[in-house]
């Protein structure tokens, strides 16, 4: 009886997994069909494999360029926000003055401000600082927007680190900066990984902010580049789907490799958040 029940549960699990995979089947299969075949029959196995779709996408949106743009923006945004947030959180936790408490309170309460509530003036600020159409500008904006959550995650973790380690380092003649970089920062590794992963997925996938800041096609990131295939009236399915597969594949590979960290990051981040 128990054995029978387990069989049923396993079958159920597999059926659910297949349901979740079907969308991937659709886009994979159709990404190698001609436009006519996609329109004729969107479910069957391709009659002829049009790998040329991928070649054309590679060229039309200049895929390597878009990929590089996404990579640069994500790496510098996330590295920057992780560093400045870790430093701020360290100071806030280790010197709990009124000032640092107020700052922490501001960071945390700013998390409730939705992006849409600041996007109109944000474009103005970016314009005023000469940051429109610039990766550096976009990266700086991500620093500002990413700081609240990152500081929040860091400060929760720093509280759990025994201060004795730092005191010992000071007695050994370590400068305050040395204490942070040589003693504290290496200890923050687990939470740093969490911050990096959560923020990387956000920045890499973000659409609205880059669409407001980057108008120049040479600068656009992967989500923006993909958007061009799906304009209102002419949907270039053959190219669009190949583009989707190309954009999604690196993400899924990253996910499969980092799975454990991603899952830990989400559970850790959400239970503390």
């Amino acid at each position: 009886m128990i054995f029978k029940g387990r069989w049923f549960l396993e079958l159920l699990a597999i059926v659910i997994a297949i349901l979740f995979l079907i969308p991937f089947y659709f886009i994979l299969v159709n990404s190698v069909k001609s436009f006519g075949d996609i329109i004729m029959d969107g479910a069957s196995w391709p009659k002829a494999f049009m790998w040329v779709n991928y070649v054309r996408v590679w060229e039309t949106i200049n895929f390597p360029r878009a990929f590089w743009n996404s990579l640069v923006v994500t790496v510098f945004s996330v590295a920057g926000m992780a560093i400045i947030s870790a430093m701020a959180a360290y100071r806030i936790v280790r010197r709990p003055t009124v000032f640092s408490k107020v700052i922490l309170f501001l960071f945390v309460s700013a998390m409730v401000i939705p992006f849409q509530s600041i996007m109109i003036p944000l474009v103005q600020v970016a314009n005023g600082l000469n940051m429109l159409n610039s990766h550096v500008g976009l990266i700086f904006i991500y620093w500002g927007l990413g700081v609240p959550l990152s500081v929040f995650l860091f400060q929760g973790f720093i509280k759990t680190i025994p201060i004795e380690l730092e005191e010992a380092a000071v007695i050994d003649g370590c400068s305050p900066y040395g204490v942070f970089w040589k003693v504290v920062f290496p200890l923050l590794k687990p939470v740093t990984v969490t911050v990096i992963i959560l923020q990387s997925l956000w920045v890499w996938n973000d659409f609205l902010l880059p669409s407001l800041i980057l108008q120049n096609t040479d600068l656009r990131t992967i989500p923006l580049a993909n958007f061009s295939f799906f304009s209102e009236y002419t949907k270039q399915w053959d190219l669009g789907l190949a583009g989707l597969v190309m954009s999604i594949t690196p993400l899924l590979i990253f996910f499969l490799f980092m799975q454990k960290h991603i899952i830990d990051g989400i559970t850790g981040g959400s239970i503390k958040g």
């Binding site: 387990r6 549960l9 396993e10 699990a13 597999i14 659910i16 997994a17 979740f20 995979l21 969308p23 659709f26 159709n30 329109i39 029959d41 479910a43 069957s44 400045i84 430093m87 701020a88 100071r91 501001l106 960071f107 700013a110 409730v112 401000i113 939705p114 849409q116 509530s117 600041i118 996007m119 109109i120 003036p121 944000l122 600020v125 700086f140 904006i141 620093w143 500002g144 927007l145 700081v147 500081v151 005191e167 900066y177 890499w204 996938n205 659409f207 609205l208 993909n226 958007f227 799906f230 399915w237 669009g240 989707l244 999604i248 996910f255 799975q259 991603i262 899952i263 989400i266 239970i271």
Partner: protein, 291 residues
């Protein structure tokens, strides 16, 4: 630890100033500028911003599209919170049992979540407009023959399907962690007393994972209320603006019609509502934790 006053001040600068500077520049200053804009008739282009008092706020309360977008967002949020949490818990419960393939199945269910909303919307745009119709022709099942993005009602449920596909794995992961943290002895003791699965869920697991449930409810609530990407690529708010979330309504007002003043007023009201919802949720969570 003691350092001199001067070096202490310098450290304060080094450690705190970068974070505060960027945070203030990109979040706090825009926030207050937005409040100011909402009292002007600024069109985004001209240098002139005339103070119009509460005109924008009066206008937006008469704006039917705006209130409709709130109704849509609220409906969407309620449905997503209920369906996603229920399904995520059931999936987590299933996938914490001792069955084969449970890890690969968990991976598959989580996978859509790493794909960003925009690309995810395009995947489903294809499935709804090209994939389902062909499956419908082959199988003659009514489900696949519905005009998925064509009518107000089906478009709403289409968006729900996509949102579940996207987010249920994320919640499932948190529920899995919650269920695994329930002490083994309790379950074993219940087994010895002959408790059924349902009794174990109802009397042991659910009460013990209450904090996890509140976190997941909060996550779904706050992300659903701010939904933008998926809908922008899936329906663009259509048909007839019936699936236009508040975030998209604000975006169209500001950048589509260049009404930055009115758009800012909408954005301000949006902030107030999101903030109230969040505070209510936090208050609720705290109350639950004390018990």
């Amino acid at each position: 630890m003691k350092y001199s006053k001067k070096s202490d001040l310098f450290q304060l600068l080094v450690f705190l100033a970068p974070a505060i500077l960027f945070f203030a520049l990109m979040k706090i200053i825009p926030f207050f500028m937005g409040m100011y804009y909402s009292f002007t008739d600024w069109n985004g282009i001209s240098a002139v911003k005339t103070w119009v008092g509460f005109n924008n706020f009066i206008r937006l309360f008469q704006d039917e599209d705006f209130s409709n977008s709130f109704i849509f967002t609220a409906k969407y949020t309620v449905v997503v919170v209920i369906i996603n949490n229920l399904l995520a818990f059931l999936l987590a419960f299933l996938l914490t049992r001792k069955i084969r393939f449970r890890n690969p199945v968990r991976t598959v269910i989580f996978m859509p979540n790493v794909i960003g909303g925009i690309l995810l919307g395009f995947i489903w745009l294809f499935i709804f407009t090209r994939g389902f119709p062909t499956v419908g022709k082959l199988t003659d099942l009514a489900f696949f023959n519905l005009p998925w993005l064509g009518t107000e009602n089906t478009a709403f449920w289409g968006i729900i399907i996509v949102s579940v596909w996207q987010f249920v794995g994320y919640l499932m992961v948190i529920y899995v962690a919650g269920i695994l943290s329930v002490p083994h002895e309790l379950i074993e003791a219940a087994d010895m007393d002959g408790a059924t699965s349902l009794q174990k869920v109802w009397h042991i697991i659910l009460p013990l994972i209450m904090p996890v449930i509140t976190v997941c409810m909060f996550l779904t609530l706050s992300t659903s209320f701010k939904v933008f990407d998926v809908i922008y690529s899936l329906t663009k708010g259509g048909p007839f603006r019936s699936t236009e979330p508040v975030a998209l309504n604000i975006y169209t007002e500001a950048f589509g019609r260049n009404n930055m003043g009115l758009g800012s007023a909408k954005a301000f009201i949006f902030f107030v509502i999101v903030a109230l919802l969040t505070l209510l949720q936090v208050w609720f969570t705290k109350r639950k934790e004390v018990e």
